[in-house]
Symmetry: C2
Subunit: 538 residues, 2 copies
């Protein structure tokens, strides 16, 4: 049979076996390297121009291109063609999260070495669920976990010498993302609260209704400020607590949980002896405003009432790397559990969540064993984990910690916080804008609020204020959308909700890309001013 | 300052910025490609020899090498050094899951193109939680989901034309692994069962105890055969049902759920009007034995009693790619939800779970919205998902489907099933062994059971049988361990538990590597015979 493109693509046993072994001859080896080169540099050309979030209409067009629900019988592409089509057809319509003009979300540029580490993780293809499919990688993962645990809790050498490789101890775990890390923390706290007691085998065995009966209560609540991430409500839903029982506490003028309102809520709840508080969550870097709750005060309250203290530091955790700014998170070392995301300010590729616990045996509350793996007493990491099989993302984190050092990460953290301050200054200087939440870490929100309306506001009555606010919301929604559709810059928008106030639509910027400088930020504001003038100018 | 190795490594702003941009000059570009070459081929040399699961003692030695809990202040390694140390220090002590002699777990060799696809996923670094960080990748993910949905359910063109890109429809979702897929399926089923009704806002809002009160029950159960994966018990625990309420139904002589016992259990449960059945799970490829439950009969039972039918096809799902063997899974198209793992028989790198639903709007039962993303009515994939941020693994699956075609995957599936049959034949032929569970898909278990003891067994009384079984368990544990420690081959072991019978320790083999042929399997048995003779021979 004459080899032509079509027959080459036909799946047959010989070609199939060939793709499972590394090529032995130089020519095909060189081809594999060439493909990697295309991946590393081919993407670059397409992505360096625009951030790539364009009009809704184009989404409709894109959707129309992906409507094939059949898997073709024969292979339809070779690897080279797949790479080509990702570079030519996917990448130009993907979002260039690595652009320094993309300051809208917590996804950003990653150092290029992360792509190499991701590749090596894939090539080794270890599965840390059990030692028999990971071996040294499980041992190395325990070391990576201890390093971040020490960054948070700072216990002494004796503590880490004892627990770092002790099979019975679990300092934390890797999860797919911060949502699962938050769920893992609250799952553990739930099981500790409703632990086995006389005549009751524990909530994990018998369920929530039985737990309430055994403990003679009717309701469990989780307390968090109104800026808590939505994954906390999701955790309440999944765990059988009910997301209505994840109670929102108002924030103060600095967007931190209002401690007197928190205390009042606790007093109110405690009047009802049929309600238990499962946990209080302190936020270390709120998703919308980047603000940090007063962690020491939350720690005091939790200690006083023996309540589980969870710190959601998915965003802010790596601030601990900075000698200059780590004080912003002080009190976190008193949290019973802490969430940190690797794909956020550790600049790892999607996705890596982590959860840490102060008590190295508390995760026994969520232990599961299986007959074919994970026998009791084994060192298998899958015993105390929400997930089963998972990628060995600890290899990426370990490599990154070596390549960057604390110092390298500190530079990134410091840059983010300082450029956010400079940006806030710039916003304050411009008459068209109002800074709505000043940055504490590296996130801020602001809105367009024209000078003349600021003046009107001063003398407006309640009804007029509502009208002005509605108009401003409309203006900000429009300008954000038009800027996004223009495709050069991306700032996100969100809605600040405060009890007793109108909803305020604001522009939100997350400053984590080291290539984002003040000049770029000025350009972004310039463009917003221009769009405003074109659309709403007189 | 004279540049030397130490100062080069010091984190400073200029070098830091440099690692965020792709190198512009040829020399540094070439270095990045060279590193990829090292990753692709450097690992090869270390891994081609042994499977690499060695003695417990060596684990202790390894642990002693990973006891550093401090993150160094300055960078301690460059990328090249990290790659070198992974190749030289990690890889030799990792597990060579790609060896054709590694037939012990569901982790195996992956085609080399998977590593390229993993790399491209990392380089694009999209986050499908929201359109603003993924755009075309979200649209393309919907297509990949529709392809697998169609493979399972086989609805007509009109169905897929309608739902494939309709924002309100969700044919399924990607999760980190099969555990999370099973949890997502049962979470959805729970919320449908305890949906809002007069005076009750639904279980997701109000929790399990309130749900039981509203529906006037005391208990919810999930039914699955005793071969159900442990993630199902975990799901029961997390969801507030209690894992004791995940009830084990006995299997029949072919390791399939015993339908008359299932029916008897349902009758028994229904006598108590305070207990509801949340779901019945049918297994399509049991983790321990590879067996498939009688899905059509489970579907009939679920239809009759209006019970959610979940199919756990984490392992067996891709059998649907084979025209020759897809009938083994018939009935799966009647399941309300289906779990399939990508990192198992789709041969994707760690990790990729998937869950599919017959009803394209049922996942509304788990929808969550956040103010800064995921507004109602948007196409953001994070709205109906257990996870928040996650990697765009659909890019890998889409590429793999194009490169392999159904035909390519069918060859792998057919090989696995047929080599398992051949292996079973070989085991039956050898006097030292007993085939304990014959293969239905590509997993089988067997044990060492010497000829003389088989003869003794025939005339033994109950007590003598217990003694023989204990001895056999000891023999099999020993031989499996010694073979593992020798480092050439790896077969796992598990314990078959049958009600009213002694626990039987068996050797378990999972046949998915296309390079595993009958000669290799004979070698593995030869080695076991040799170890047995050395340790227990007379």
């Amino acid at each position: 049979m004459k080899p032509d493109k079509k027959t080459e693509l036909l799946a047959n046993w010989q070609t199939l076996q060939r793709i499972f072994i590394r090529p032995e001859n130089e020519e095909s080896g060189a081809a594999l390297v060439r493909y990697m080169e295309q991946i590393l540099f081919g993407l670059h050309d397409f992505l360096k121009q625009h951030v790539g979030i364009t009009r809704e209409a184009s989404l409709k067009d894109l959707s129309d291109r992906f409507t094939d629900s059949r898997i073709s019988q024969n292979p339809s592409k070779k690897l080279a063609d797949v790479i080509k089509s990702i570079i030519e057809d996917i990448a130009p319509h993907a979002v260039n999260v690595s652009s320094p003009y993309f300051i809208g979300h917590m996804t950003s540029a990653i150092p290029f070495f992360m792509v190499h580490l991701q590749t090596i993780m894939g090539a080794l293809n270890q599965n840390p669920v059990k030692l028999e499919t990971s071996k040294v990688v499980s041992v190395s993962e325990r070391q990576a976990l201890a390093k971040i645990h020490r960054l948070i809790y700072g216990f002494d050498d004796a503590f880490y010498d004892e627990h770092i490789q002790k099979p019975e101890s679990t300092l934390g775990g890797f999860t797919d993302d911060g949502t699962l890390a938050n769920i893992t923390a609250l799952w553990t706290a739930r099981n500790v609260l409703f632990k086995p007691k006389n005549g009751f085998d524990g909530v994990e065995s018998q369920g929530m209704a039985a737990a309430y009966q055994a403990y003679d209560i009717r309701r469990t609540v989780i307390l968090v400020s109104q800026l808590g991430h939505y994954s906390l409500r999701k955790a309440g839903g999944i765990l059988g607590i009910g997301h209505d029982n994840v109670l929102s506490i108002d924030v103060d003028s600095q967007n931190r949980i209002n401690i007197s309102k928190l205390e009042a809520a606790i007093r109110e709840i405690q009047k009802d002896n049929q309600t238990k508080i499962l946990a209080i969550v302190g936020i270390a870097g709120a998703t919308e405003t980047g603000t940090v709750d007063p962690l020491p005060q939350i720690a005091d309250i939790c200690a006083e009432h023996s309540i589980h203290f969870h710190a959601d530091a998915a965003w802010g955790g790596p601030t601990l790397m900075s000698e200059k700014y780590r004080h912003l998170l002080s009190g976190i070392e008193r949290a019973d559990s802490v969430t940190i995301d690797g794909h956020k300010q550790f600049y790892m590729p999607m996705s890596c969540g982590m959860v840490y616990f102060k008590d190295p045996v508390i995760m026994d509350a969520i232990a599961y064993h299986a007959a074919y793996i994970n026998r009791p007493g084994s060192v298998d990491l899958g015993i105390r984990s929400l997930e089963g099989s998972r990628a060995a993302t600890s290899l990426i984190l370990s490599g990154a910690l070596e390549i960057m050092g604390r110092g390298g990460y500190a530079l990134l953290i410091d840059h983010g916080i300082e450029i956010a301050k400079a940006f806030a200054e710039e916003i304050r200087k411009r008459h068209l804008f109002e800074l709505t939440t000043p940055p504490e870490l590296n996130i801020l929100t602001y809105r367009i609020f024209p000078e003349n309306m600021k003046n009107e506001w001063k003398t407006a009555d309640h009804h007029q204020k509502l009208e002005i606010n509605d108009y401003l919301n409309h203006v900000n929604i429009t300008v954000q959308r038009l800027q996004r559709e223009a495709g050069k810059s991306f700032v996100s928008r969100t809605t600040l909700r405060r009890r007793g106030c109108e909803d305020i639509v604001v522009l939100r910027s997350v400053l984590m890309n080291p290539m984002t400088d003040i000049r770029i930020l000025q350009e972004i504001l310039d463009e917003q001013e221009k769009i405003y003038q074109q659309q709403f100018g007189v």
